[in-house]
Amino acid sequence: MSDDMNHDPLKSLGELKAPAPSERARERALGAGMAAFEAAKTRETKKSAAATQGTGWGRRLTSIIASLKGNWIMDLRLPIGTAAIALLILPLGYQLYTTTSMTPAQGRATGPAEIIAPPPEPAPATAEAPAANLQASQPAPVPMLAEESRANAPAAKQEMAPMRDALAQGGAGADTDFEAAPMAQDNAASAQRPAPAFGATTEGYADLMAEPGLPSIIMTQPVEPSGDQFTPFDESRLKVVADEPVSTFSIDVDTASYSYVRRQIEDGFLPESDAVRIEEMINYFPYDYAAPEMAEVPFEPIMAVYPTPWNSKTQLLHIGIKGYVPPMGEDRPSNLVFLIDTSGSMDEPDKLPLLKRAFGLMVDQLSANDRVSIVVYAGSAGVVLEPTAATDKAKILGALDRLGAGGSTAGAEGIELAYRLAEEGRIEGGTNRVILATDGDFNVGIADPEQLEDFIKAKRDSGVTLSVLGFGRGNLDDATMQALAQNGNGNASYIANFREAQKVLVEEGGSTLQMIAKDVKIQVEFNPAVVAEYRLIGYETRALKREDFNNDAVDAGDIGAGHSVTALYEITPVGSGAQMVDPLRYGGEGAAGSGDEIGFLKMRYKLPDEDVSRLIEVPVTPELVHGDIADVGDDMRFAAAVAAFGQKLKGSSYGAMSWDAIAALAQSGRGADEGGYRAEFMQVLKTAALLKPDTCAGEGCR
């Protein structure tokens, strides 16, 4: 062979050492293998004994093909000459086919690479040329072809759907070029026209260039590591109490942000800053706040004021609430409709297979008076399981098992179908909910996002709520997920792995399913005599206007059984010397305030079946102030550490702590940590510290 060089660089390929696999992945894989083995065994025993005698399907298949081949030649008596001619023509045809760069019309990822490689050259006319001329001679056909490719080419379609929001234009252009380019080339005279289109193609598909056959390495420019979409927002700013004494926001019990951030960090990427929503990170962890006794007052605020860990001159106002937990015996019936995305992109281990196992877990939790149905969209559309009593687990799990990802036929009325089933199986006085599981393909049948939100809102008002579970990465449309779940009075969760599925669907299954209060709003008024400045940490995407608080028509977050919600304000006491804003020289504006109360907390909520809100009012008194952060409970220290972590990840303009200091604080607040979530947070923290090291170590950095 040609290995006769002095030093063969290829030899160095043998030197790469793969990093050790994570134990969890290993166990998961071995478990999955065993399960598959057992399943195969069961199938095998059901079949006749023939299959176990060593003839695998692979071999039998080949033998069928071989015998078919034999029969063909014998029966059809193909003349040898024809065969020989075919042998000659095939390579020739192939040559022609590739050099005329028609391959891309088939639309797979290798396509663009080949468009780019050869400069456009006038090709010999093919059978399609006349037809092509018609279209290529007018510059207009681009949008029309886009429509066509949407309807015809399954591969192209699939790539289109998730792109439609951000890249609608670029995407359409790129797809169309596949068709337009070769046609235009056949019309040799107009060979110039496709030139700009090529540019569009390379851009639209630059990130697909990993496919083989690429002539250059220029394409491998790194881009940001995720294709996921998030609602952009700015960190909430510091407010001066004299100007703006009232702060209003809606609660947020979602936790998707933390799961997403954790996964990114575990995979070695820093999450983009819009993906970090601090309130969702704080609320991911269970806190042991005292739960109220009765359903009529579904929660009570727990408050404390303690020194800010990242700024010794300011204080944190910690507001924690925990939702009422109905007694165990009270089993509220549920009517659940799973609306499952089966588009081709779901065909990855951390999507559809994970989803199946996750729902399997959930079904195990349901009881005799619960009902389950399954509707799929995207890949295949329709009802997979009619409303079925949850006790018929075998039937439900069987239906789940049969789901497969693939294809991309538009599953037109997916969402309407799901809601129709939910209404057919409606249980009065129970939970009626559609659970949408997707990796970001919201092609559920209503294309216009606003219309979709309105539809969901209308259904919510008729009593059917919507939760969204996000899976996978690279395609995740977090913004839409959040918007839909909020409009549907449900939760948005991001399921990164089996453990997460267990947390969301089993441990918190009750709260995910059973809403105990809706439209929960919080309003805090600060006393200018005591507090000079304040800043709400997180909740940027949940801010409300002051006047919205008393307006029952304004929608806000919902709280489920046992949910805990935490909000933190960083407050600067008057006279602490830590004010960021100078007092006005000519003063005279605003109320001066009096008394020694720090502020006044008001919360509004509606009971699940009511439309008129109720009010809870509690003053924030000086008795709540702790002089040392060590005096407050573990939960509060931990929440402060998570807030510091979130701010550091975002590159917040307020308060920087070193990684070590955050870790120490979190460690001190770890507490009993029953689910092991806080221990896991410590690991995430360590990894993040490696990814974004402090520029200098020790106290000096603060």
């Binding site: 062979m1 040609s2 660089p9 290829l10 030899k11 160095s12 043998g14 790469l16 050492k17 793969a18 990093p19 696999p21 994570s22 992945a25 290993r26 998961r28 894989a29 071995l30 999955a32 293998g33 065993m34 598959a36 057992e38 195969a40 095998e44 025993t45 176990t52 003839t55 695998g56 399907w57 692979g58 990822a109 591969a155 699939q158 792109m163 890249l167 995407g171 990130d207 697909l208 990993a210 496919e211 083989p212 390495i217 491998t220 420019q221 940001e224 590591p225 995720s226 294709g227 995979d267 070695g268 081709g344 992109s345 065909d347 990855e348 281990p349 951390d350 690279g474 395609n475 490696l690």
Partner: protein, 184 residues
């Protein structure tokens, strides 16, 4: 007979054959031992092919599942390890195809440019350009090069995995060298 030791290169010896035979007869325990003993091999190969740890873990899991489904069909004509490699390579290809179907597959870039990856790939940083180029080769060429140079197989063994002749493997490597000429 105890657990087979978790060596990188599986012993094609009696132990594996025995486990395979028992697993084919429906012995779940034997199958468990078998995949446990080979998990590292699968995962490491998947890592070399994909260059991405989470992908490698997913692929390894996929392979374990496929093994569970297909072990009964293993006919012993090729060595078990060759068969295993073939399944792993197929899984790698399936995954990469599935990935490339996705619209804005930015993540795919992570596996062609390991220098962007996490710290665990620092070892490879020097060779990263070469790795990036090799992973971009057409599938057959890439498989041949990686089997021969990264997995240190002979051309004949690689041929067995790829289901082609020894000479074909040599030809793929020759072609790969031509493609990579600028880099080597």
């Amino acid at each position: 007979m105890g657990l087979p030791s978790q060596t990188l290169v599986p012993d094609p010896a009696a132990e594996t054959r025995d486990l395979v035979a028992r697993a084919q007869n429906g012995d779940g325990e034997a199958f468990g031992e078998l995949i446990e003993a080979h998990y590292d091999l699968i995962y490491r190969a998947a890592y070399k092919w994909s260059g991405h740890r989470s992908d490698a873990e997913d692929i390894a899991q996929e392979v374990c599942i496929k093994l569970g489904n297909a072990i009964a069909g293993f006919d012993g004509r090729a060595a078990f390890s060759s068969w295993l490699y073939r399944i792993t390579l197929n899984a790698v290809r399936d995954m990469q195809r599935a990935k490339s179907r996705r619209s804005r597959q930015a993540d795919a870039l992570a596996h062609v440019s390991p220098q962007n990856g996490p710290a665990e790939q620092e070892d490879a940083a020097t060779a990263s350009q070469l790795w990036a180029a090799v992973r971009q080769l057409p599938e057959k060429q890439r498989d041949a090069v990686l089997l021969v140079y990264a997995e240190e197989m002979s051309h004949a063994e690689a041929g067995e995995v790829m289901g082609c002749k020894e000479a074909t493997v040599s030809w793929h490597i020759h072609e790969a060298r031509k493609t990579l000429r600028g880099l080597l």
